[in-house]
Symmetry: C2
Subunit: 441 residues, 2 copies
């Protein structure tokens, strides 16, 4: 067994990384990552040449290797509001706490908040996320520096006002132009019509058209609450999914977040359009939305279901291990079926389905796939014994068991060390403090 | 600021520990633990004398200090079955997976499983637990070595069979005699009638009488499923809580686990008897019991509500941070109230209420209280920013943020190092492997 490379080398390398003897599923495998950031080899014994070529060698013994987790719905910069207000009635929480703070958010804050979010995601094994917020150019800067992948959407809300709509269209165009101009393969843009109750039909149609024209995705909230469904029926004469579809927003590149109140027909519609749903169990429970996504109907329809955390104000954690466990628990409990959403399905929602939804490869550890992968230590109480790795990953461990994170062929965390962590924590803590003080002065 | 003591000293000391500048609530406090294992001083500036007397000094800066968490319902040795089988219909899971394995469990297995459970609990900030299982003499040995507190009950199941009942009475007596003989103030015995559907009225009455005679507590499952309520109405002509009460089992020293299907009157009865309920949200969701404990009625009645994880086969984690978050989420979601079970209440269920239920002091950091306390690092992404410590503790961090654990004046973990950890992991892994192989041969 070759000794591990030293820390400095590990964080410097772009690809040319050899991971020896990690556990993949139930097998022991060596993995070689090429200089192009793709997985070149997964197997056993074929390590002589890779050993010569490798700039970095990592010891995978006593570690499970799995694809980096994909968080398909969050508002990353809301980490600054984590724990600022909880346990309040929704409208009071939004109007008295969240919105007044958000009104004071600057681009610098969004940079600091997104940087903190990226750090938290890396530390819990997430390598890609789907984000919707504002000041997204600053979010892009944080993502670029952090080294993970993101799909960034400007949250488009016109509230039926044509003037506001114009501004939202220009802001959306500007972000897409900015992101494309970065030419960073880890960062993509999407169009982000907020929801049917905050965006007019004209706004939704514009978003759909612009996304199609640009060849990019759509990120939208869908049927989070019963009120949204009721009001949509009154205002638009149809349920939210059908309304979104009529406006062109349900595409194979769309991610629809929440989907709690879909009826059976809407599940089939989502499936027929190839749209990915993002299940956000923790946020749905914390905000007491009253219903869990009808996962059994989604699965029966063949709809693509992924997982998200939602923003840190309504979860309050970005740990996707928590989202996997939350989904597996909530589905069983709400739909009263002990067999619904077994652990391997939760894992595949957070990996394969998530990666497919964001268009970033197969979300599996295989030759040719992007080298987005994580090593989870099995030498800990919560992963012992190891009867079934998928069960321990979903039900008993947390992101704290992730030791190493690689994204696009670069090591972002090793042995739980993330370069620059202290600076990111201090920057976010200060930004949050200043924000509260500005908002209350 | 005095430098921290070295690791060897830290793990050797019994009391005489000075913790400097930790955050207690919203204040910075120094804490001195006397040689008797009690907290002697909590304050600021009074550290000159304590500095001279201290055998060990710990740096509490950038740490929240809170009472050790109390897990009021588990079956510790079931860690050996963690992840062995999940996502199955309850009866099939029990009869085809859990019971066949349990039939092969030996005292040695229970020792190894309980040792693993103690390790997992220490690593996630739990300093006391309420256990019900069998081969409990071996569980006592594991607890004694691990250094935490436990109340141990032999799981009494007579299934209405007088011959079996006799055996269960003798086993219960033997455990209580054994535990009292240990003269270990950290370890107590309780009487453990399993539930109304597994113990005859005569068995329940005997348990109640024996507990009273011995001056010890009762640990019982109560109204976990609707089926239990229905069958009890048919068989005993009354709901489970009333039936337990008629048999004398509801006392101020009783912990009743689950309490999902209590009606309003039963909540008042529990309150009137001074019995503590143990809410186990994760287990209840995973096993799809169909209803959440009616926490609002419990609170209105003034009932004492504590928190538990249940065993590792049905959770599958013993992390009480997960139980706190699970409770706060499940209550809001199931009872459709965004304000139900706010973070500070979840924290007090896991500390003050739990400690009171097991009779181990106030569950607060104050002079005269047992020195059972934990330090949680705030220098991590999931605890940043720190708008409200209680919110971060309940909603965003996990047991992985606990750095230091002190129980009965001894340091059991410091900077996430627990002496003897590797040996405990290997012993449990081997015991689990051997158990499965015995059961399938």
């Amino acid at each position: 067994m070759t000794a591990e490379s030293d820390r400095e080398e590990i964080f410097r390398a772009k690809g040319r990384i050899l991971i020896l003897s990690a556990t993949l599923g139930n097998e022991t495998r060596d993995i070689y990552i090429g200089g192009d950031g793709l997985i070149e080899y997964v197997g056993t014994g074929g390590t002589a040449r890779h050993g010569r070529d490798a700039a970095v060698t990592l010891d995978g013994r006593n570690h499970l290797v799995l694809p980096g987790l994909v968080n398909t719905h969050t508002h990353a910069a809301m980490t600054l509001l984590r724990g600022y207000a909880d346990d309040m009635p929704l409208q009071e929480w939004l109007s008295q706490k969240i919105w007044p703070l958000e009104a004071h958010l600057t681009g610098k804050d969004v940079y600091q908040g997104t940087r903190l979010a990226c750090l938290e995601m890396i530390r819990s094994g997430t390598t890609a996320f789907n984000d919707m917020y504002f000041h997204m150019e600053d979010a892009a800067r944080a993502v670029s520096e952090a080294g993970i992948r993101a799909t960034l959407a400007y949250g488009f809300l016109d509230m039926g006002d044509p003037g506001k709509r114009e501004k939202e269209c220009r802001a959306t165009e500007a972000l897409v132009r900015h992101v494309k101009g970065l030419r960073n393969p880890r960062i993509r843009a999407a169009v982000g019509p907020h929801a049917v109750y905050t965006v007019s039909p004209e706004g939704l149609q514009w978003c759909a058209g612009f996304a199609r024209e640009q060849g990019i995705g759509v990120h939208v909230h869908l049927s989070e609450t019963e009120q949204e469904v009721r009001e949509c029926m009154v205002a638009r004469g149809d349920r939210p999914a059908a309304h979104l579809d009529r406006c062109g927003c349900l595409t194979p590149q769309t991610v629809a977040a929440h989907c709690c109140w879909l009826d059976r027909e809407e599940c089939s519609l989502i499936a027929a359009r190839g749209t990915a749903a993002s299940h956000n169990p923790t946020s749905n429970m914390k905000l007491a939305v009253g219903r869990a996504m009808p996962y059994h109907w989604m699965r029966e329809s063949g709809a693509r279901v992924t997982l998200g955390t939602d923003g840190a104000a309504s979860n309050n954690s970005l740990d996707m291990f928590g989202a996997m466990k939350g989904a597996a628990l909530l589905q069983k409990f709400f739909w009263n079926r002990q067999t619904l959403l077994p652990a391997p399905e939760a894992l595949s929602m957070a990996t394969e389905a998530g990666a497919a939804a964001l268009g970033i490869g197969p979300g599996r550890i295989e030759a040719g796939a992007p080298a987005d992968l994580i090593l989870v230590s099995t030498s800990s109480a919560d992963l012992t014994p190891l009867h079934h790795p998928a069960s321990n990953l979903v039900y008993s461990c947390t992101g704290g068991s992730v030791q190493t994170v690689i994204c696009d062929g670069r090591v972002l965390m090793h042995k739980r060390v993330v370069p620059g962590e202290q600076e990111a924590l201090e920057g976010a803590e200060k930004a949050a403090r200043d924000l509260v003080s500005r908002a209350s002065s």
